[in-house]
C-alpha cells in the first residue's frame, strides 16, 4: 500500500509523482507521452486543446490540468482515446487554413506532426473556410491568424516568460481569434521581438519569424525525422529559452 501513496498508474504502468504535479507533469517526467498541443512544460497549463484528455475510472479529464492523486488508474494510449484525439486534430485542420505545402512551418509544425502521429490521412470534417486577418506589419515577425489554433501558448509565453503580455484571445466561439495588445492592434506597435519565447513557441505557422522559412529544406525538418512523441518528451520552456 505504501508504494501507491505517491504513484499513479497510466496504462498499467506505475509512475511516481510529487505533490502538486499534474498527471501530465508526472507522465512526462516518467517519459510517458500523452498527446498534447496547447501544453508546454514550464508554462502554466491551459487545457484548451483537449488532446490530453485521459480516462480516470469512469470520468474523463485533461491530463495537463488535473492534479495527480495517489492510486489514480489512468487510461491514456487506447484506441478510443487516440481516435478522439485524431478527430480533435482534424477539427483544428478544418477550422483554419492548414495547407501544409504552402506553409513555411511544414515539417516543423506540431499540428501536422500530431496528424502523422495519429495516422490522419485526411481532414474528414467539412471545411470552415474562415477568413482571418494577417498582420505583416512587424519587420521581423509575421502573424497569420488563419493558421492559429487558439492554443494560447504565445499568450502565456509572452506574459509569463517574456514579461510583455503581447497577445490575447478575443471573440467568442468560432469567432475567437488572436489579438495584439498594442494601441493599433498591430504587431509592429507592440514590444514583440524575435528573441521572445512567444515568437518561437507557436506550434503551427501562425507566428513566423521572417526570412527564415526555407533555411532547412523540406524533408530534413524536425517532424520529417522525429515523431511528436520524441520531441514532446524533451521540451521545456526554460530549455527553449537557453537555446537562444
Amino acid at each position: 500500500m505504501q508504494a501507491s501513496q505517491n504513484t499513479i498508474t497510466i496504462d498499467g504502468r506505475e509512475i511516481p509523482f510529487t505533490a502538486g504535479q499534474t498527471i501530465m507533469d508526472a507522465a512526462l517526467a516518467a517519459e510517458v507521452y500523452i498527446p498534447h498541443l496547447c501544453h508546454y512544460p514550464g508554462l502554466p497549463p491551459s487545457g484548451n486543446c483537449r488532446l490530453c484528455v485521459v480516462e480516470i475510472g469512469n470520468r474523463s479529464a485533461a491530463a495537463c490540468i488535473t492534479q495527480a492523486a495517489a492510486g489514480q488508474e489512468i487510461r491514456n494510449n487506447t484506441s478510443e482515446l487516440n481516435a478522439a484525439r485524431k478527430a480533435l486534430t482534424q477539427m483544428l485542420f478544418v477550422e483554419g487554413n492548414h495547407i501544409c505545402p504552402s506553409c513555411e512551418k511544414t515539417g516543423n509544425c506540431k499540428l501536422q506532426a500530431m496528424g502523422y502521429y495519429l495516422g490522419m490521412l485526411e481532414d474528414h470534417f467539412p471545411y470552415f473556410y474562415q477568413r482571418r486577418e494577417t498582420d505583416a506589419s512587424h519587420p521581423d515577425i509575421l502573424l497569420d491568424r488563419s493558421r492559429c489554433i487558439l492554443c494560447d501558448l504565445c499568450v502565456r509565453a509572452s506574459r509569463e516568460v517574456d514579461g510583455k503580455n503581447v497577445f490575447a484571445i478575443a471573440g467568442r466561439g468560432t469567432e475567437a481569434h488572436l489579438i495584439v495588445n498594442s494601441p493599433t492592434g498591430k504587431l509592429a506597435d507592440s514590444t514583440m521581438e524575435t528573441t521572445d519565447l512567444a515568437a518561437t513557441i507557436c506550434p503551427v505557422g501562425a507566428i513566423l519569424i521572417k526570412e527564415q522559412g526555407y533555411r532547412v529544406p523540406i524533408g530534413q525538418r524536425i517532424y520529417d525525422q522525429h515523431t511528436i512523441r520524441d520531441i514532446g518528451l524533451q521540451e521545456h520552456a526554460t530549455k527553449k529559452q537557453e537555446e537562444k
Partner: protein, 586 residues
C-alpha cells in the same frame, strides 16, 4: 459609493468595466477603438483585455448600431417564428433594413438574440434593451410605423412593455409571504453556526440544475482561508425556456437579497454581487429600488439591524449577452471584467472565486429558499419533496400548452402531472432543463422532476403533436454554436459541425452518414469538452437520435450527397459571366 477594495479592479471610479462599456455604447451606439483605449486607461488594464471583452459579449458592438436597435428572441417559445410567419424578416422588410446590418441612415438595426426569457409571452423582442412581448404581424406594423416616424421608445404605448408573471401553482416559496429582516434577525438570534446547520439539515441543493448541496458549499467557503469572502447571486438565467428568475427578481427581490445577506453572515462576506443577465436589464431600476429600500431599513451596509460586526452590501453587475456566464467560474471571470471563459476547476469558487477569494455562487431560487429556511426551519422545507430532493422546484412552463407560466411543485412531481396542469394533454415530447437538458418522450412522462430522476434548472418546454422536432434540433444546434465560448476545441468546433449536420438533414440533403457523424461528434463534445456547456451541448441530438430517430431519418437521401449546394456554388460565376442557362449542377 466607496469601493471597499479600491486597489483591486474591475471597479474603478467609473463603476464596473461592463457598465462603463455599456455607458459608452449608449452614448456612441458602439464601442470604438478609441473607447477601448480610453476604458483600458481608466481601469488600468491592457487594451487587449478590454478589446477581448467587447468582442466576447453579444450585446457589445464594434460597429455603430441603429438609434433603434431591435433584437428578436430566437427561442423556440418566445422566438420570432409565429405560425410559419417570420416576424423578424417582416419588420426588416417594412423598414427596409438588412438583418444584422445598420440601415444607412443609422436609424435602425435588427438582429436576433438567444432566448430573452419571455417564453410565456409568445414572440418577443428587445428594443434598446427593453422587452416587448406578444408580437404579431399587427404589432410589427405598429412598431415599424413608430420607428419610421422616429417616435422615442419612451412614447410607445406602455401596454406593449407589460410583463405579466402568471403563477399557476404555488408551493413552499411562492405561497409564503416574506417579511424583510426576518431571516437576518433569526440568523443573528441563533448564530451563524446554527443557521448553517439549518441549511445543511434542510437538504437544500442548488436550483440551477447541478444540485450541489448548498449548506456544504457555504460550509466549505466559510472554512476556506482567505482575506475576504464574497457571495454571488447567479441571475444569469440564460437557459432557453427559463423565466422563473424574472418573476423571482421582480416579486421576491427582498427575499433574495436577504438570502444573500444570510449567506454573507454565515461565510463572513461583506460584499455580494447579483450578476444579472443583460436581457433582464429592464429589471435594474426595480432591483436598485429594492436595494435602496433595504438600505433605508438598515438591512444593508454597516451594522445591519444594529449588529456590531456584520456589514454587508450588494452590487448589481449586468451581463452583456453570453449564455456561458451562467457557468459559475465564467460568471466570476465576467464579474472581474474579463471574457466569460470557464476556469480550470478545481480549485472551485468556494476556495478561489472572485478575485481569488472564497466565494459562494448560488442561483436566485436557491438563495430565496435559504432565506425562507432560515425563517421557517429545515423541517418546514423537508416537509415536501423527495428523499434526495427536499423542498420545491419552480418551473418555467412554455411551448405547446394552454397555460404557460410559472409552476411551483414539490420535488417528485411527475412530468405527466405538470403536462396535465398546464393543459398539454397530448404532448409529443418535453425538453426539460432547456436545450442543455433532456428531450423526453411520452413513454417517460411518468418520470419525476428531482435530482435523482430528471433534474432541471426550471426550463420545461412542451412540444405538441404538430411540432417539427427537427426544427427544434436546428434551433438548439444553432444556439450552442452561437454560445460556445470558443475556449476548447471539441465545443468550439464540434458545436459548429453538429449545426452543419443538423442543417444538412433539415435541408433534405442528409444521409445515414450524417447521422453516424452526429453521434460521434456529439459523444466527443460530451466527453472531451472543458465545461458544462460542452458536456451538455450535444444532449439534444443524442436524446433525439435515441428517442425520436425518425426526426432525423424521415427525409434522408439514399446515396452520398455533396456537403454543400453545388448549384448555389456556381451562382457567383453565373452572375459574373451572365451565362445563366448554360450551367447548372443538380
Amino acid at each position: 459609493m466607496a469601493n471597499p477594495y479600491p486597489h483591486k479592479y474591475p471597479d474603478s471610479r467609473s463603476g464596473h468595466l461592463l457598465h462603463r462599456l455599456y455607458a459608452l455604447q449608449e452614448q456612441f451606439l458602439h464601442i470604438s477603438p478609441e473607447s477601448v483605449q480610453q476604458v483600458a486607461a481608466e481601469f488600468n488594464v491592457p487594451v487587449s483585455q478590454v478589446a477581448s471583452v467587447v468582442e466576447f459579449y453579444s450585446f457589445f458592438y464594434t460597429q455603430p448600431r441603429g438609434r433603434f436597435h431591435i433584437l428578436f428572441s430566437n427561442c423556440t417559445s418566445c422566438g420570432y417564428l409565429l405560425q410559419e410567419q417570420n416576424l423578424m424578416l417582416m419588420l426588416c422588410q417594412q423598414l427596409q433594413v438588412t438583418l444584422g446590418k445598420t440601415r444607412q441612415d443609422g436609424l435602425i438595426s435588427i438582429d436576433e438574440t438567444s432566448c430573452i426569457g419571455m417564453c410565456d409571452h409568445g414572440a418577443s423582442l428587445l428594443v434598446n434593451g427593453v422587452p416587448i412581448t406578444g408580437l404579431n404581424p399587427d404589432r410589427i406594423a405598429q412598431i415599424a410605423r413608430r420607428i419610421a416616424t422616429e417616435t422615442p421608445v419612451a412614447d410607445w404605448p406602455t401596454e406593449w412593455f407589460a410583463v405579466h408573471d402568471t403563477v399557476h401553482q404555488r408551493n413552499l416559496l411562492l405561497a409564503e409571504q416574506f417579511v424583510s429582516g426576518s431571516a437576518l434577525q433569526r440568523a443573528f438570534d441563533q448564530g451563524a453556526e446554527s443557521t448553517l446547520t439549518a441549511i445543511l439539515q434542510s437538504g437544500l441543493r442548488g436550483r440551477g440544475g447541478a444540485g450541489f448541496d448548498t449548506g456544504k458549499k457555504w460550509q466549505f467557503c466559510r472554512e476556506a482561508p482567505g482575506e475576504t469572502r464574497y457571495v454571488v447571486c447567479n441571475a444569469d438565467e440564460g437557459e432557453p425556456g427559463t423565466f422563473k428568475d424574472r418573476l423571482l427578481l421582480h416579486d421576491h427581490a427582498d427575499a433574495l437579497f436577504e438570502g444573500m445577506a444570510v449567506c454573507a453572515f454565515i461565510i463572513g462576506a461583506e460584499k455580494g454581487f447579483v450578476y444579472l443577465r443583460g436581457e433582464y436589464r429592464y429589471l435594474l431600476p426595480h432591483l436598485h429600488a429594492a436595494l435602496k429600500g433595504r438600505r433605508k431599513q438598515g438591512l444593508l451596509e454597516q451594522h445591519i439591524l444594529g449588529h456590531a460586526h456584520f456589514h454587508f452590501d450588494i452590487e448589481i453587475v449586468v451581463g452583456a449577452g453570453a449564455y456561458i456566464c451562467g457557468e459559475e467560474s465564467a460568471l466570476i471571470e465576467s464579474l472581474e471584467g474579463k471574457p466569460g471563459i470557464p476556469r480550470i476547476r478545481p480549485p472551485f469558487p468556494v476556495t478561489h472565486g472572485y478575485l481569488n477569494q472564497p466565494t459562494v455562487v448560488n442561483n436566485v431560487e436557491t438563495l430565496i429558499a435559504a432565506a425562507h429556511i432560515t425563517v421557517h426551519g429545515s423541517a418546514w422545507f423537508k416537509s415536501v419533496g423527495t428523499e434526495k430532493s427536499s423542498g420545491s422546484k419552480i418551473l418555467s412552463v412554455s411551448g405547446d400548452c394552454q397555460l404557460p407560466g410559472i409552476y411551483e411543485y414539490p420535488f417528485g412531481v411527475t412530468i405527466q402531472q405538470v403536462l396535465d396542469d398546464c393543459g398539454a394533454q397530448n404532448a409529443r415530447a418535453v425538453q426539460i432543463g432547456g436545450p442543455a437538458g433532456r428531450l423526453i418522450g411520452a413513454a417517460d412522462f411518468h418520470h419525476a422532476i428531482s435530482f435523482e430522476d430528471v433534474s432541471t434548472g426550471g426550463s420545461f418546454l412542451v412540444f405538441g403533436q404538430q411540432r417539427d422536432l427537427l426544427a427544434i434540433h436546428c434551433n438548439f444546434a444553432h444556439f450552442f454554436a452561437h454560445e460556445s465560448c470558443g475556449f476548447c476545441v471539441p465545443c468550439r468546433v464540434g458545436t459548429q459541425l453538429l449545426k452543419c449536420h443538423v442543417d444538412k438533414i433539415a435541408n433534405g440533403r442528409g444521409t445515414a452518414q450524417d447521422i453516424a457523424e452526429m453521434k460521434q461528434i456529439g459523444q466527443l463534445i460530451e466527453r472531451h469538452s472543458h465545461c458544462g456547456l460542452g458536456h451538455t451541448a450535444a444532449n439534444h441530438v443524442l436524446d433525439g437520435l435515441q428517442h425520436f430517430p425518425q426526426t432525423f431519418t424521415a427525409n434522408l437521401q439514399q446515396h452520398f450527397t455533396a456537403r454543400f449546394d453545388l448549384d448555389q456554388a456556381l451562382e457567383d460565376a453565373r452572375q459574373i459571366t451572365q451565362r445563366d442557362a448554360a450551367a447548372h449542377l443538380d
